[in-house]
Amino acid sequence: MRKYIIKRLLISVVILFFVAFIIYALMRCLPTSYVENMARQKSMQPGSKSFEEWMEQLTAAYNMDKGIILGFFGWIGNMLKGNFGDSWRWTVPVVEKFHDTVWLSFVMGAISFVLELLIAIPLGVIAATKQYSKADYTISVIALAGISLPTFFFASLLKLVFSVKLGWFDLYGLVGRNYNQLDAFGQLLDKAHHLVLPIITLVVVSMGSLMRYTRTNMLEVLNADYIRTARAKGLPEKKVIYHHAFRNTLIPLVTIIGGSLPGLFSGALITETLYSIPGIGFASYESMIAGDIPFSMFYMVFCAILTLLGNLLSDILYAVVDPRVRIA
């Protein structure tokens, strides 16, 4: 097992190396005028360094003067030393901005993930146990609708109904107008209040696939021989489903849930942007639009790490949970 994990980790490092290379090469392949534009814009800000100095700094920071390969090694060397540069858009070190934003995204992601599990898994189980019934059809259509719902359209609808018509929530932002006048508990409540719509959006848009996944796996288990045996023994249906079938459905579920845990840190790019929630997703969106190369590159590498970690975690969990799986 340990050997397997080490092997996977090494492969992941190699993959990450290439992903970073592609990201770096992509940035280098952007029209040069793009970087120059950025330098020019930066130099035009009041009290800023001159254009030449900015160009020099960018060139030095990204090894633009060297070839792509050499430059890449220089850049990755800096990253390994923990030197990610300063964000242009936020004018603070990249790591500092990351630290400021990532926890909000994580909290938001975690809450919606838990809600998602609480809604999707029971519904998936119900749909599978009552296959081809009305409930099954309804749940299947709801799941498909959730998958098909464009985030931005759903968010707009929610805003129209709950923010504009009913006036329950603010349209944008994490804190209300009188946030500074509130005590600590009030501030927490205010933030929670502002997170309601984003979390609803996230849950509705992402629960569909988990619901379908649960249903498919539950159906598979229900068709298995040991379920027939359980029924033949005369066990009550409840016990068959929740004791024998559901436990076995948990195997694929746990792997997929474990695999999506690292993703909670990556933030919800679109949802955060739509609601202007200052999490990592919104911050990186702003950075990307503003051409903030240091922060964007950091975010992309971070996302890649999370994806790799997720894959690794789900594979390991699969082996841990399912005794039938033997790792070579």
Partner: protein, 515 residues
């Protein structure tokens, strides 16, 4: 293969065999799949929705009487600032063209007038003030008349040109003293009691008034008649004023008094042609018009076309790359498989949304043309999306490779290329079709999201995403539901239909799924 054995070549036996109950209906695998598919009511509904969407987008665009970027106009009543009227209560200084009468001396003159002094001194020069009549003073220095201070002004009746000092002086003095005539520049003019100045031949030349009326636009000349009537209206305290000029054109004017500047603003109500933006639904425009005054329904049709075409091309690119890479990888195995799968891993890891957003922003910076941009968008989306397809194809091929029919092809000595593309790939196609159908929905959402963020399809091309983009303007979100709700509903329905059909196809292809 059709069951033909009951139809012998002998004609005499035709009747005999037709009512033969031994006839067995045999269906090809394709027909079986179709049969299973059409038995699924939900999937059929999805298919119907899709067909309707295609008809709406592709045929609708042809049927619609409008073009996708045809702009509509409406005539709107707009108030435009036309003139300003000031009732003069301040001293006004008219400078003798030949002399110097600087602003600072004018200020000194004002002080002297208010203090009732006949002379003043400024920076070593003596000035004398001569009261010619009520509210008219002449300023002399060193025996020369350098200017006059008055409360009334003289305006030319025929043009905006400046009048000469001598004429102005004569006219003002005559008006103030009640004289009926004066001479200036060798000509004699007569002045009536209203302050109108006539030349010797009886033509009106200028007039003296305490109101200053100026046109906002330099090229507009306000006639004397207009000014008189306007001032009458002002004095009567009217807020609206109608005037018919010598050409018979009637215009409405709105008069507003501005207490801050102690002046009246004269706004002209003019008919202006503007883009018919955000029009409510009418018979001509069933869904109204959008931000640019374009017909919403037509935009939706063309937007659907763009969204669907982009979806198909992207999925096509993804499948081509995915099938080739996955096919090679799965068939050869070993180090080729390892290499390709690591490439797949790399592509799987690249966060595609950030990359696409950055590329979109870079294209913004480089001012890429809209149509080229659309092409790039498709290539980028396809290039970053093939990893999943490759994995699927590889997995399928890995299991198919071990089956007997592949051993048979090997025994027959069929070439490798033929084995992969004629025998393995066709067996992957059912799975591939399902994934492609589902992928279409996903791609359409991605494209719409990018367009919504302003990084995908750009004006003048319509796409369902960039139509909804208008809700970023909160006023549109709250007031013009006809702009964004239909596009969102169409988007949702299309993606849902693709997913449902994909689901139905999966069930139909899978013989284990008995219904």
């Amino acid at each position: 293969m059709k069951k033909e054995n009951t139809a012998p070549s002998d004609n005499k036996k035709v009747n005999y065999s037709l009512n033969d109950d031994r006839r067995v209906k045999v269906l090809s695998p394709g027909a079986l799949v179709a049969k299973r598919f059409f038995r699924n009511r939900l999937a059929v509904t999805g298919l119907a929705v899709l067909i309707a969407m295609f008809a709406f987008s592709f045929i609708g665009g042809m049927v619609s009487p409008y073009k996708q970027d045809q702009k509509f106009y409406r005539v709107d009543q707009q108030s435009k600032a036309y003139a300003g009227v000031v009732r003069n209560e301040e001293w006004r200084y008219t400078v003798n063209d030949a002399e110097k009468f600087t602003g600072i001396v004018q200020a000194q003159t004002f002080l002297a007038i208010t203090k009732n002094e006949a002379a003043f001194n400024y920076s070593g020069t003596d000035y004398t003030l001569e009261k010619l009549a009520d509210d008219i003073y002449a300023v002399h220095t060193g025996g020369a008349l350098i200017g006059i201070a008055t409360k009334e002004v003289v305006s030319s009746s025929t043009s905006n040109d400046k009048l000469s000092f001598e004429f102005t002086y004569g006219a003002l003095l005559a008006k103030a003293t009640g004289e009926t005539s004066f001479t200036a520049e060798g000509q004699t003019y007569t002045v009536d009691k209203d302050g109108v100045v006539f030349a010797a031949d009886g033509a009106e030349v200028a007039y003296v008034s305490e109101y200053v009326v100026r046109a906002v636009m330099g090229d507009v000349f306000l006639t004397r008649d207009f000014k008189t009537k306007l001032i009458d209206a002002l004095e009567a305290g009217q807020t609206e004023f109608a005037y018919t000029d010598e050409n018979g054109e009637a215009c409405e004017y709105v008069l507003t008094y501005n207490a801050g500047t102690k002046s009246w603003d004269v706004m002209k109500e003019t008919d202006t042609t503007v883009f018919d933006t955000y029009a409510a639904p009418t018979k001509e425009h069933w869904l109204g018009t959008d931000r640019n005054g374009m017909d919403m329904l037509t935009r939706l049709m063309y937007g659907g076309r763009v969204s669907l075409i982009i979806g198909f091309i992207v999925v096509f690119i993804e499948s081509i790359i995915g099938v080739i890479m996955g096919g090679i990888s799965g068939y050869f195995g070993g180090w080729v498989d390892n290499l390709i799968m690591r490439i797949v891993d790399v592509f799987y890891c690249i966060p595609s949304m950030p990359v696409i957003i950055i590329l979109g922003a870079a294209m913004d910076a480089a001012n890429v043309e809209s149509s080229v941009r659309m092409l790039y968008l498709m290539l980028i989306l396809g290039f970053f999306g093939w990893a999943g397809t490759a994995r699927l194809v590889r997995g399928q091929i890995l299991s198919l490779r071990e089956q007997e029919f592949m051993t048979a092809t090997e025994a027959c000595g069929i070439s490798v290329r033929r084995r992969i593309f004629k025998h393995l790939i066709p067996n992957v196609i059912p799975q591939l079709i399902v994934v492609m159908t589902m992928g279409l929905g996903g791609t359409i959402i991605t494209e719409a999201t990018l367009s919504f963020l302003g990084l995908g399809v750009r004006f003048p091309f319509a796409s369902w995403g960039n139509i909804i983009n208008d809700v970023n303007n909160v006023f549109v979100l709250t007031h013009y539901w006809n702009i964004w709700i239909p596009a969102g509903v169409l988007l949702l329905m299309t993606v849902l239909a693709f997913n449902i059909v994909g689901d139905g196809l999966r069930d139909a292809f899978d013989p284990k799924m008995k219904r």
